[in-house]
């Protein structure tokens, strides 16, 4: 049933429909509403049986999930930003142990400077950990992806992270058809772990592996991700058949059939990009959009198929690798090996800066006229950057950069510099 509902609430209800048996909670914005709502459902008995555990850190949250999952329970948690980084060791561990934990990542910038708003630098920091990373474009997709995530995770013994843009999605109230319990029950069979901690059949889990087999173990993790790549479209198809709407899959395409230029992105910004593209289309410019839903495993072939005919690819990224440039762009370029379209990176929306239609339109105009450099920082205030660089060059102790910049833009009281 369609309801006007906050994204976090929709995700919480979808997660509850998946009947998680152990949920661990540690608060961090902007995921907190999700875990609060799940906790309330456990408290009221709406979600039962379920153990809801308030832990003392994100590291503990995922560690509790690891123990629960290894003991055969369906485990769920949610985090963001610093929280994800605080649990990174456990993130790698859960993947290495092949534990099908599902975790929501309410994407948020990573400090310093501390910043609670949305970008993708948290997700990018763990892209090599062995987790499946699915990016939701809308709140509908965020809710639906959680249902698919448990299915994929448990079928293939791999943890899945559902990434949804912090605030932009988590706190947005819009129409969502929250998955119905009977349908979810039909879609998601009970969890049958591949191996489990059980005194009746004792096994040792988590042995030390040396050089004689480590590479093989890692290869097998890769093979499992490739198997996920195979299953994602099939699971999305099954979901569509049962629920009557399409969510998930490897990539989504928009007006790409005849496109010379294709904009690639992850997550909620795709909506704004599509609007900007529609406007350019009205002027007869052949521009399309590709959204990557499955960032890990990276759908190289699907991306190649979707982008193959374009002469120019513009990757709009809410994160970048400092000292290098685009992260997603590198993956896209790898997928296009041998085809040689121009691939450029536009870094945008860092720390929650709005990505406006007007700015995107400028990007598209530049793309059409082949004026985009390899790496652009959208709406970068070059004047502020220049002033701070000059300050740093002139004075060794020029003070903290973030505070200097805030003073320049008069966000804090001007003092002596």
């Amino acid at each position: 049933m369609l309801r006007q509902i906050e994204g976090s609430r929709a995700v919480a209800e979808a997660v509850a429909c998946c009947r998680p048996e152990v949920v661990c909670a540690y608060p961090i914005s902007p995921q907190t509403h999700i875990i609060e709502a799940v906790g309330a459902m456990v408290r009221s008995g709406e979600l039962s049986p379920c153990e809801f555990i308030n832990v003392e850190s994100e590291f503990a949250a995922l560690s509790v999930a690891i123990g629960a999952s290894a003991a055969g329970a369906r485990a769920y948690t949610a985090t963001a930003s610093q929280g994800l980084l605080f649990m990174v060791e456990a993130v790698y561990n859960a993947a290495g142990l092949g534990l099908p934990i599902v975790m929501t990542l309410a994407n948020r910038a990573v400090g310093a400077p501390i910043n609670i708003w949305n970008d993708h630098s948290d997700a990018m920091a763990v892209r090599d950990s062995g987790w499946v990373q699915l990016f939701a474009e809308t709140n509908q997709e965020a809710a639906d992806l959680h249902v698919q995530a448990f299915r994929l995770a448990e079928e293939l013994s791999v943890p899945v992270m559902v990434c949804m843009d912090g605030f932009v999605l988590t706190h947005a109230v819009e129409r969502v058809d929250v998955p119905d319990q009977p349908l979810v029950d039909a879609f998601l069979p009970p969890f049958e772990p591949r191996q489990v901690l059980d005194p009746d059949e004792p096994v040792s889990i988590g042995a030390m592996v040396g050089p004689e087999a480590f590479e093989e173990v890692r290869y097998l993790a890769h093979a499992r991700q490739l198997a996920v790549l195979e299953r994602i479209p099939a699971v999305a198809d099954e979901f569509a058949e049962l629920f009557g709407r399409r969510s998930g899959g490897l990539v989504s395409t928009y007006r790409t059939e005849d496109a010379d230029i294709v904009v690639v992105a992850l997550g909620s910004v795709l909506g704004t990009i599509k609007d900007a593209v529609d406007e350019r289309r009205e002027r007869g410019e052949r521009i399309g959009v590709v959204g990557i839903t499955s960032f890990r495993p990276f759908p190289r072939d699907a991306v190649r198929r979707a982008l193959g005919r374009a002469r120019s690819i513009v990757v709009v990224e809410k994160a970048f690798s400092i000292g290098f440039g685009g992260v997603l762009s590198t993956d896209v370029a790898m997928a296009l090996q041998g085809l040689n379209p121009v691939v450029v990176t536009v870094v945008a929306g860092l720390g929650g800066r709005p990505i406006t239609g007007a700015s995107l339109d400028g990007v598209l105009v530049d793309a059409v006229e082949d004026r985009l450099p390899p790496l652009t920082f959208l709406d970068l205030d070059e004047d502020i950057v220049r002033r701070e660089l000059e300050r740093m060059a002139a004075t060794r102790r020029s003070g903290p950069t973030a505070e200097n910049v805030l003073r320049d833009i008069r966000s804090v009281a001007a003092g002596p510099v």
């Binding site: 048996e21 503990a60 123990g67 329970a73 901690l197």
Partner: protein
């Protein structure tokens, strides 16, 4: 005259003589006890939870401690047990791929998260209606007092149904003997070398984990050593009879890190108790309920001299002043825990 002990119905049934202690050790000789009073470890039906073939060093106290503890726990809960292990010597020497010495359901995740993983296992068992399956988490002192302390404190505070066992060998042995917050003053480690004004580990630092555990008000806290098997097993049994967060701190000498003879492991553990340096006690709900009495008090020197990590305190350039400070610590423990009370129980913690 033998000390009064939990005795067999007829303690004189072997050759008409009464010998409850093995010569010089003060350990109870199992053969002389009634079957029902013998240790789990002496029983051919024990689990062998940590089985032979592992790669611990000769004389490893931790291997002994883990085997004693888990076999006793397995007996106490009739085999319905899952063990969670932190990274460390015990994990490394027991599970080099593709071998495992564990005959019980066992899991290792990370160095600092064993308490949280154990919480997860216990939660899973509860939610699945299998609360008969009990959970033991175990770590060395580094995994307990240092890197694992955040998770441990959380597990205590929530009173999760986990017995956490610290096998304390007083430093990071697996990485080559570096100081932990459980390293005693003056001990030489690779990061507290034996020179300078105060050679070895500093005085006045470190964490007293049993006291910290008690401060959480958890139902049961106990300390033990690998020198007194009966006492250790009794404490494990007691711990497994209780639900909620429980903490057992077992002193396990490490020949490699302490610079002691492998054959002296049990002797050194006993001396730790008999000097008062390692109080052996039980606490319930944050209050000490029982302290094992010192049988034959020894000066700390007889404990320190057996270990090369304290070698710099003796000899021509020795530091009697530091030995005196260590003696003062032992004396303070004896006073605090009443380890020499005439009226106190003298059974070495058995009850």
């Amino acid at each position: 005259m033998p000390e009064p002990l939990p005795t067999a119905d007829d303690p004189t049934d072997v050759d008409g003589r009464v010998h409850f202690y093995q010569v010089g050790s003060f350990a109870v000789g199992n053969r002389l006890l009634d079957r029902s009073l013998r240790t789990v470890q002496s029983d051919i039906g024990r689990t062998n939870s940590l089985d032979a073939g592992h790669r611990a060093c000769r004389g490893c106290g931790e291997a002994l401690g883990a085997r004693y503890t888990l076999d006793a726990a397995m007996r106490a809960v009739e085999g319905r047990l899952v063990a969670v292990n932190a990274t460390g010597c015990l994990e490394v020497f027991s599970t080099p791929y593709p071998e495992s010495s564990w005959r019980i359901a066992w899991m290792h995740s990370l160095f600092g998260n064993a308490p949280a993983v154990a919480t997860g296992v216990a939660a899973a068992m509860r939610v699945k209606g299998r609360s008969d399956v009990r959970v033991v988490a175990q770590a060395g002192d580094g995994g307990t007092v240092d890197i694992g302390f955040g998770c441990l404190s959380g597990m205590f505070e929530r009173n999760d149904d986990v017995l956490f066992v610290c096998y304390d060998n007083e430093a990071y042995m697996n990485t080559g003997v570096q100081r932990s917050a459980a390293t005693p003053p003056a001990a030489r480690t690779a990061t507290t070398e034996a020179f300078g004004l105060e050679p070895g580990a500093p005085f006045g630092q470190g964490k007293d984990l049993p006291r910290l555990a008690m401060a959480h008000g958890i139902p049961y806290v106990a300390t033990a050593t690998v020198a007194d098997l009966h006492d250790l097993e009794a404490k494990v049994r007691r711990a497994m009879a209780i639900r909620g967060a429980r903490y057992l701190h077992v002193l396990v000498p490490c020949p490699l890190g302490w610079g002691s003879e492998p054959g002296d492991t049990v002797k050194i553990a006993r001396l730790a108790k008999e000097t008062g340096l390692f109080p052996v006690f039980e606490a319930e709900g944050g209050k000490v309920t029982h302290a094992a009495q010192i049988r034959r008090r020894e000066p700390v020197e007889s404990y320190l001299r057996l270990q090369s990590r304290f070698r710099h305190l003796f000899g021509e350039h020795g530091r009697p002043d530091l030995v005196a400070r260590i003696q003062a610590i032992a004396d303070a423990n004896i006073a605090t825990y009443r380890l020499l009370e005439a009226t106190a129980d003298t059974t070495g913690g058995q009850s």
